[in-house]
């Protein structure tokens, strides 16, 4: 199962620090994952729209394909410093 890490506002809106995708999504694009999370957790749609996705700790394109071997994270607009 693909595991998606959540942070900051997304983590609070979902109430968990990660989401497990259904088994049948064993391979998916970032775009598909985003769509699925938005459908399951409609409260995250606004932030999702503004978020980047990181795959294995690198910022990734929407069309990148990931599997359950990858580390996926959604990165809401950062505010460090």
């Amino acid at each position: 199962m693909i595991r998606v890490l959540l942070f900051a506002g997304m983590r609070e809106l979902v109430g968990k620090d990660h989401i497990l995708l259904p088994v049948e999504m064993g391979k998916a694009t970032v775009q598909e994952i985003k769509q699925w999370i938005g459908d399951q957790f409609p409260q995250t749609k606004d932030i999702l729209m503004k978020s980047m996705c990181a795959v294995n700790q690198n910022y990734a394109r929407e069309d990148q394909v990931v599997t359950d071997q990858d580390e996926i994270a959604f990165i809401p607009p950062v505010s460090g410093g």
């Binding site: 900051a8 990181a54 910022y59 394109r61 607009p77 460090g80 410093g81």
Partner: protein, 155 residues
């Protein structure tokens, strides 16, 4: 000491300075970001920082490498603190040494601007009248100019 680190305890500046001190350095510029009480008339009580720690350290290292390739002879150390921070606490500290002074200022400034663009760290403001994760607000455009570099993209 790790020269690029996310930490939970008080940041000490001296080890950073020592780390970048070098016989061929003539200038060390440090930037320290502290928690300010008043922002646009709003009173901050405390801050809470969260990070995607492993990636954040990786991005800090990337920023350091960008500087070292841009400014020959530069040495860089960056530490960001996470967790609960009180007013005047140090949230981030950057130290850059270079042979000559102009580059140390430029590089240190570059580092803090880049941190605000690409390092996965989030700040939750706790005001007298509420709280909010900064960066989520509608008034802020997500990743305006300094969009994080995508894998495989030229920097």
């Amino acid at each position: 000491m790790k020269s690029y680190a996310i930490v939970r305890d008080k940041i000490e500046i001296d080890p950073l300075i020592e780390y970048v001190t070098d016989r061929n350095a003539g200038a060390i510029c440090t930037f320290i970001g502290t928690v300010r009480e008043m922002t646009k008339g709003k009173k901050t009580l405390y801050l809470e920082y969260q990070a995607y720690e492993e990636m954040a350290e990786k991005m800090l290292r990337q920023i350091g490498e960008e500087i070292e390739s841009q400014y020959p002879g530069a040495l860089v150390a960056i530490v960001h603190r996470i967790g609960h921070l009180e007013i005047s606490d140090v949230a981030v500290a950057i130290a850059v040494s270079t042979p000559h002074r102009a580059a140390s200022f430029e590089a240190s400034r570059y580092a803090i601007e880049r941190i605000k663009e690409i390092v996965p760290i989030w700040k939750k403001e706790n005001w007298e009248d509420g709280e909010n994760w900064i960066g989520d607000q509608l008034e802020k455009v997500a990743y305006p100019s300094g969009s994080p570099k995508l894998e495989g993209e030229e920097s």
